[in-house]
């Protein structure tokens, strides 16, 4: 008692015992603090709720599609053309072949141009005004509704030729593929480290050879994946084919005639009044979904985040 007490935050009580530490928060602060935590929990709950609200129905849709499609899918689907109206059986073999033909056409036009444009952006035009303009325009083009491409191809080709054709459908789809592939190719080429380009240039390899044998070669898995994604994306497109390829109930191999396509057939059957055709539509939808699943999975394996992520 004779010593001067050392001033501490919580002075001892008069009898020398310790007081609990002073609560520095005022009552008002404690209330608002409680409210803040409540808000925090509320928002967390809302976020989880919205995720559940979104994920569950979407999974349900997927599941329903798979279920309906699987029960409708049989071997005849892949081997037969549609049966006459009212008769059971039949398949969508001609539609799948038609899709294949159109897609091959579209890819042969769209892939080289797209990759070349991507090469320009990454290897020659990087940082230039022209490069930025091309990049921006490609991004904007990717958002144009596909039906517009269909009308454009119709106006250019079908109107002139006075008939529908697989070729016009291919052109419509090719126009859609080019901006997509351009951007994915550019992004993949940008992942190639600049040091190995320098290594090749330092050896006296001309630039064009460096681009082909070093840049493209190193980035090729990613570039191929990007092409695959573009392919999968246009494979499911219906609108551009509505008045270009037009559809065909029979086998068709000529590029100059109307041709069946899987998504087109699904649409026609879905809005038809016949149950048998509805069944075929579900089966066709399942085939499309499976193809999409495969390509999305492959993309995930090959290239993680980035441009390919949303390129679906």
């Amino acid at each position: 008692m004779s010593t001067t007490p050392i001033p501490i935050a919580t002075p001892n009580r008069d009898d020398g015992s310790l007081r609990p530490p002073t609560d520095f928060q005022t009552r008002r602060m404690r209330l608002s603090s409680a409210r803040r935590y409540a808000v925090n929990h509320l928002v967390t709950g809302l976020a989880v709720l919205s995720t559940v609200l979104v994920i569950v129905p979407l999974v349900a849709i997927l599941g329903y599609l798979i279920y309906k499609g699987a029960s409708s899918l049989n071997l005849a689907f892949f081997t037969h053309i549609p049966a006459p109206v009212g008769e059971p059986g039949g398949g969508m073999a001609n539609a799948m072949l038609g899709s294949g033909i159109i897609l091959a056409l579209a890819s042969s036009m769209g892939v080289p141009v797209g990759i070349a444009a991507g090469v320009y952006l990454a290897e020659y035009g990087w940082g230039t005004m022209l490069g930025m303009a091309v990049r921006f325009t490609a991004d904007v083009l990717n958002g144009i509704p596909s039906i517009v491409m269909g009308i454009a191809a119709y106006s250019l080709i079908v109107m002139r030729q006075m008939h529908f054709s697989a070729f016009s459908g291919g052109v419509a789809l090719a126009i859609m593929m080019v901006p997509t592939i351009t951007r994915t190719t550019e992004e993949m080429l940008m992942t190639v480290p600049h040091a190995i380009r320098e290594a090749a240039l330092g050896l006296g390899v001309p630039k064009w050879r460096t681009v082909i044998s070093v840049s493209l070669r190193t980035a090729s898995p990613g570039i191929i994946t990007g092409c695959m994604l573009a392919f999968a994306r246009v494979a499911g497109e219906t609108a551009p084919l509505l008045f270009t390829a037009f559809g065909n109930q029979f086998w068709s191999f000529k590029l100059n005639e109307p041709i069946a396509a899987l998504p087109l057939q699904i649409y026609v059957y879905a809005i038809s009044p016949y149950d048998e055709w509805h069944r075929l539509a579900w089966a066709g939808a399942l085939v499309l979904i499976l193809m999409i699943m495969v390509s999305v999975t492959l993309v995930r394996i090959y290239a993680g985040r980035g441009v390919l992520k949303g390129a679906s």
């Binding site: 330092g202 006296g204 390899v205």
Partner: protein
Amino acid sequence: MGVGIDVEHLNAWYGTNHTLQDINLNIPANHATALIGPSGCGKSTFVRCLNRMHETNPIARATGVVKMGEVDIYKDASPVDIRRRVGMVFQRPNPFPTMSIYDNVASGLKLNGFRHKAILDETVERSLKAAALWEEVKDDLKKTSGASLSGGQQQRMCIARALAVDPEVLLMDEPASALDPVSTSKIEDLIFQLKSQYTIVIVTHNMQQAARVAENTGFFLNGKMVEFNSTDKIFTTPSDKRTEDYITGRFG
């Protein structure tokens, strides 16, 4: 065998940045020349001017005369020609990741269209031996990926790759700075052996390395070449006070 390089009034810019200011020097053939100086003083830019690699940067430009032997490399030849005569080894090893060791070393030839298999085999072996890497990789040349080697091995492979095109000059931009001491000493031994056959220019941060391998040394500071002399003289009796300050560690 190597050729000498004469540099007269070389100026270089990156955009508006005047990186090299009026460099004049004479690099002798079949000798190793070291370039030392603090970071950012322009040594790397200088060697990149020697094989016109700075031109790969769109905002870079250079004026002046650089002669290899009798040839003005800016006026009398194209960059591709020059780079086939002047090999370059970079700071970080940069093997081609999609190619095997064999293809990496032979890339300077294969990518230029050379197809003669027997000569390719022999060149690859010779280059790998010259780079002191042969014994370590000779068993699986065509199957092992170039990127799967250790850092020191990769750098030696890059040296072999540069040697395979039979250059006359070898430029090395801090070749050992990213490597461990053991690999570093292997590469220094290499330089010691190679310099009788090639003209070597080596940029280094490490003054002891310069003292070990080079006969001549140039000291760069802020884009100017302050002093260029035999290594002995630079490190024992430098003529310029700034050189002395740098060497004794007062800055940089």
